[in-house]
């Protein structure tokens, strides 16, 4: 009967299979991409960026962990139980007073999903992928309302299937008293992509 009678082997094959099914169902008019996106959005946080946020908050509050994270993100993440990387290498880029980092996948949509969940739609679109490389400062300001100070260098990093980058945003000011758990809520997905700062605590 169904095409899936043969056990599907790799995650890549299953992913391709699911993409194929979606393409066909859209072609047949059974559903629209927007309808599937809407439904997926409801659950997006289930696989969302909390894991990455946990890691960043820990690094903000634990200098030794931070050192290990910047040294080898794959190993440091495994330490806190985040895996599923299938041998891919991960590098965490630290934002500082003089350097701001932002990630992209120029060829497709490689994304550090074990820590950030599913990529937002705009991350996959050609507009972002090409423009962020040509004019990072402009794209951050115009598309994301995020003005990077003139004295800060912006570095754009291209993820691939074997090496995935993500960003450790700067810890917001006025958060000295906050616990790692409270800080976690400030670490947004966008801040770990590098298209925005971490949120500031609600006054």
């Amino acid at each position: 009967m169904a095409a899936t009678d043969t056990p599907l082997r790799t995650q890549a094959e299953i992913t391709a299979h699911v993409k194929a099914l979606e393409a066909l169902l859209i072609q047949k008019g059974v559903m629209t991409t927007a309808a599937v996106d809407r439904m997926a959005d409801i659950y997006e946080n289930e696989v969302g960026p909390q894991l990455g946020a946990t890691v960043v908050a820990r690094a903000w509050t634990d200098p030794e962990f931070k050192a290990r994270l910047l040294e080898d993100a794959t190993v440091a993440c495994a330490e806190v139980g985040i895996g599923g990387l299938q041998g891919e290498e991960m590098i965490v880029l630290e934002n500082t007073d003089t350097v701001h980092n932002v990630i992209v996948c120029t060829l497709c949509s490689c994304y550090p999903w074990p820590v950030l969940g599913l990529p937002p739609n705009w991350y996959k679109l050609p507009q972002y992928r090409s423009r962020i490389v040509r004019d990072p400062r402009g794209v951050l300001a115009e598309d994301f309302g995020f003005t990077v100070p003139d004295n800060v260098e912006i570095r754009v990093w291209d993820s691939s299937s074997e090496l995935r980058y993500w960003v450790m945003p700067q810890r917001p000011e006025g958060t000295d008293e906050m616990s790692a758990e409270q800080l976690q809520a400030l670490v947004t997905r966008d801040s770990m992509i590098g298209v925005g700062p971490a949120a500031t605590p609600a006054s």
């Binding site: 899936t4 299953i14 490389v133 990093w157 074997e162």
Partner: protein, 137 residues
């Protein structure tokens, strides 16, 4: 920070409606999504139902059947809850004449070919692909 009751939002409403559907499904009490495709399959099954292409009971039965078949002899295949969703969705769609095995296979091959050729097989980039220098110091 003041919390917002998750079920008091528009998203919460939508989610509750989905959960009313899902709670009638065996084994769905809480199955986390481990892989992006799992969420996609889940969303597709619910979206296809919302667009009126099948009765939820038809999907339920297909899912139960798929799980039963796994229990009866495909135990060599590792358990993957959402593979059963995938199979159930395909079965229901095929029974409506909206899909064929061959079409899915052909399309999946095309998707894989794109993944292998066009996608990221080049050497990992270990330097920034672009740098916008500081404008002032």
């Amino acid at each position: 920070m003041i919390g917002i009751r998750p079920d008091a939002t528009e998203l919460g409403d939508a989610r509750r409606r989905v959960e009313e559907l899902v709670c009638t499904i065996p084994g769905a009490d809480h199955q986390p999504f481990d892989q992006p495709w799992e969420l996609r399959v889940f969303a597709m099954a619910v979206a296809a139902y919302h667009s009126g292409h099948y009765e939820w009971s038809e999907f339920q039965l297909s899912l139960i059947e798929s799980i039963r078949r796994w229990e009866n002899g495909e135990a060599g295949v590792p358990w993957s809850y959402y593979e059963h969703w995938l199979r159930a969705l395909e079965t229901v769609m095929s029974s409506k004449g909206l899909l064929s095995e061959a079409a899915i296979d052909e399309e999946a091959k095309a998707v894989l070919a794109i993944t292998r050729n066009a996608k990221h097989q080049q050497k990992a980039q270990r330097d920034p692909v672009a740098v916008s220098r500081a404008l002032t110091t």
